[in-house]
Each structure stands twice: as C-alpha cells, then as structure tokens.
C-alpha cells in the first residue's frame, strides 16, 4: 500500500487537530452533557479520555468547592489500646510529603459522593491499617462533611456545619 501524499497527510492532520479542539470546546461548554450518558457512548468516551483528556471540564473549584470531606479512623488493639487518626487533626495517611498527602483529597472526595466506592475505600483503608497494626482486632472508619458558612454568617458567629455521612466497623475474628 502506498503512503498518502504529503498534501493528504497534512489535510488529515489539520482535520484531526480541528476535531480535537472542537471536541474540547464542545465538552467545556456543556455540548456533550446529554450525549455522555447515552448507552454505548461511555466506553468510547472513556477511551478517548484515557488518551488525552479531551472529554473533560476544567472547573478548578467551580461552581463551588463543596464541603470538605474528612476521615476519622480508630484502630483498637487486642489489649484495648486505641489509635485514633483524624484528617481534621492533621492525619495525612502516613504520607511522606505534601504532594502525596494531597492525593488523598480525591480518595476522600470521590468516596463522599460515589456510594459504591464508600465501602470499597473503607475496606481498603481498614485492610491497610490491620497490616500496619498487627495487634489490632477492630477498625472503625467514619467520614464527615464539614462546610464553612459564608463570610457574613461566620462574622455573625455561625459555626462550620459538620455532618457524619458514613461509618462502618471491621473486626478480625
């Protein structure tokens, strides 16, 4: 098979570039919102996203930051000793640096609104903690949403709103 002529190859590349940018623009301006949920489109769109994230919207904390998702874990040893880890109090999942610690934002955030992920994430974290604490027999895992009031309400004395939305317990038997 003969390779395409330079003019044809150039035309194809310009067309691909145009299609790529058009897709990005269509997605960010909500032109794909309905299509994305059509049956049969999820896999090809995921594939395209895995290639180059052209099917992605870049909000950067918009429209709002939402509530902060915080995790509290209590590990109970056989002798009754309790190890308490709370992200509100600075627990960073034993990570070595700020960059690694920041990665738990997605872990916490996604498991706050994807119900299927909550059990999986909790089970996974509990398994990790059982491995780190060989004498532990029980792990309690809870997630809380913390939302600060508006600046005006905060000045008026309104406290941050705190709500536990998930908790579970794992025991070794």
């Amino acid at each position: 098979m003969r390779p395409p002529s330079p003019a044809v190859a150039k035309g194809v590349l310009y067309a691909l570039a145009f299609a790529h940018l058009t897709l990005i623009a269509a997605v960010i301006f909500h032109g794909f919102d309905r299509l994305a949920f059509r049956r049969g489109l999820e896999a090809p769109l995921t594939l395209l996203n895995d290639l180059n994230y052209s099917v992605w919207r870049f909000g950067f904390f918009a429209p709002d930051v939402g509530p902060s998702t915080e995790v509290e874990i209590r590990v109970v040893d056989e002798d009754g000793t309790v190890h308490r880890y709370s992200t509100v109090e600075g627990f960073r999942f034993f990570s070595s640096n700020l960059e690694s610690a920041g990665r738990f934002y997605g872990f916490k955030k996604e498991s706050s609104f994807i119900a299927d992920l909550q059990d999986l994430a909790a089970r996974s974290a509990a398994t990790r903690l059982f491995n780190l604490h060989p004498r532990a027999w029980r792990v309690e895992y809870a997630m809380r949403a913390i939302r600060y009031p508006t600046m005006k309400d905060y000045r008026a004395g309104a406290p941050p709103e705190e709500r536990e939305f998930y908790s579970t317990t794992f025991e070794l038997r």
Partner: protein
C-alpha cells in the same frame, strides 16, 4: 435570507499564516523539557510512597482498584500478570515499573529517540492513572495531556539529542506551527472553561467559594479565617481570578497585555500552590502557559527594549545632565 459570505482573501491569508507559516520549534522543545522534567520531579516526590500508592497492599488494594477500572484498562496487576514468566513478585513489578517510568521520562527529557520514549512515558502514565484512579487529580490530568502532546507533536526538533545526532531536522515546519496553535488554543480553552464555570457561580462573585477553599480542612495550609473580617479582599481576589481566567484567551493574544497576563496567571498559580498546598499543580499550569505563550511574551519584552525612547523622556534626561 442572506447567504453566508466566504472569508475575504485577506482574512483567509491571515488564517493560513496563523496556522501554517512555519515557526521555529524552540517552544515545543521547551514543552518537552518542561513536561518530562516535571514528570521526573513528581516521580522523585512520589518515590518514598510508591509502594503505598501502587503496591498490591497499599491504601487501595489491587482487588479494589481493579474493580474501579474498565476491563481493558492497563492496570498494574495486568502488567504483573504479563511479566509472570520473569518470576517477579508483585512488589518487584511495582518497583521495576517506577524505574521504567523514570528511564522513559529521562529519555524524553534529553530527546533521545524521542518518539519512542514519549510513547513509553505516556503508556506508563496511562497505567498509573488507571491503577489508582481515586488518587489522581488535576496535576495528573494536565501531565497526561502534556505527555499526549509530546507523543504526537514534533517536540524533538529543538534542544534534543535527536537533533545533535542528525536524526531530526531542527527546521521550522507547518507541523510545528499546527502543534503550537493546538497547544495555545487548548490552554486558552482550559482557562476559558474555568473562568466560565466560575462566572456562572454566585459563590464566586460573592467570594464565598474562594473563602471556603482557603478555610475548609481539605486544602487548608494556614489559618485564613481572619479573612472573614476582610471580605472585600476575598471578593477582589475572586473577581481577579475570574477575570484572569476568563480573559486569558483574549489577553494572551494582545502583545501589550500578554506579559502582564502571563504574570497574573503565574501569580494566581503560585497563590494556589502556596495557600492551598498544591505546588505541583501550580507548577504544571505555569509550565504549560510558558510553553504556549512564554516565547511570545519574551519577544514582546525584547521589542519593548528595542523600541526608541519617547522624545519627552529624552528631553528630561538632557535637562538633568
């Protein structure tokens, strides 16, 4: 009904020149070094926690993370299974994968057999993204976009071993121009999207979205609750963010504004990096803007230095002596 008039010949000529007139490849060389260098810095920071994130018994065990990905995704457990004849343990596979990624990014950084190493780096990063999807955030998405562009764009044409060894020509081509325009337009669309989404939000106009991102525990690095008493400052910073992001796609194309807009976007990302504890995210956004528009801002600055002094200032100088 009036018919759509075709573009005038001068507009068409300008459009052709914009997308086709061969440009020098140095900005693409900078893009390659910036993105590959960034990948190496990120990998170095990740190294102490590598097994904890990617290992089979990390915070997200392979059984769990595999359940979160599609069947055909390149999960590390599948790479381990493919390497089974070598007799490696799961941990050895994960460590070996780290060195493969670092070696590929290093080859890409120096531009040696660039296309091959760009492919290896991109594939490795793809595997990372699919192995721990819940731990990925904006920085990884932009790195992946950057690596995809290094894979398909002629990024070896400047500052590369491939040029030194004569494998790649450093001459300007339409391919360089097309690549640069795609990168520039993509970055403009990213900021337009971000500015547009913020501009649709009441919480951004009132400053409360920025206030919450600073004080809520998720990203809190310092105690900024005192800002509630200085709400005008938060509102001003919010509006500054909206204007800088939404106006990026205009400001970056106006020579007299470009350098200031670039400085504003750098300041914005430095602020995000320091105040929200996202230094790498800030860094990659700055690098992408510099790769797309840095060379133009540099040309603007040089043109200003070359331009003659206004007559009024010359008279003042003469009077002073």
């Amino acid at each position: 009904m009036s018919s759509i008039r075709p573009l005038s010949s001068s507009a068409r000529a300008r459009l052709n020149a914009f997308f086709e007139a061969p440009l020098p490849p140095q900005p693409l060389g900078f893009l390659r070094i910036a993105v590959a260098g960034f990948a190496l810095v990120q990998a170095a920071l990740w190294y102490p926690d590598w097994q904890v994130f990617f290992g089979p018994d990390g915070w997200l065990q392979w059984e769990v993370s595999r359940a979160l990905t599609l069947d055909w995704s390149l999960h590390l457990s599948r790479i381990h299974a493919a390497l089974a004849p070598l007799g490696l343990s799961e941990e050895q596979t994960v460590t070996g994968f780290f060195y493969f990624y670092v070696a590929a990014a290093t080859g890409l950084l120096v531009g040696w057999h660039t296309r091959i190493f760009a492919f290896c780096t991109w594939v490795a990063h793809f595997a990372m993204m699919t192995t721990i999807p819940t731990f990925m955030y904006g920085v990884d998405i932009f790195l992946h976009i950057g690596l995809f562009y290094l894979l398909v764009m002629p990024v070896a044409k400047a500052y590369s071993v491939d040029v030194l060894q004569g494998r790649v020509s450093p001459d300007p081509t339409w391919g360089v121009t097309l690549s640069l325009r795609v990168l520039q337009i993509h970055v403009c669309l990213v900021y337009l999207s971000s500015g547009y989404e913020k501009a649709r939000s009441v919480d951004w106009w009132s400053g409360n979205a920025l206030w919450r991102s600073l004080v809520q525990p998720d990203f809190r690095q310092f105690d900024f609750t005192w800002l509630a008493e200085w709400s005008w400052l938060v509102v001003a910073l919010s509006w500054f963010t909206i204007v800088v992001e939404a106006g990026y796609c205009v400001g970056m194309w106006i020579p007299r504004l470009r350098i200031f807009w670039l400085a504003a976007i750098v300041a914005l990302h430095l602020g995000i990096g320091i105040c929200l504890g996202l230094p790498l995210f800030g860094l990659i956004m700055i690098l992408l803007s510099l790769a797309a528009f840095g060379h133009l801002a540099l040309e603007d600055a040089r043109a200003w230095r070359r331009s003659p002094l206004p007559a009024g200032r010359l008279v003042e100088a003469a009077d002073a002596t």
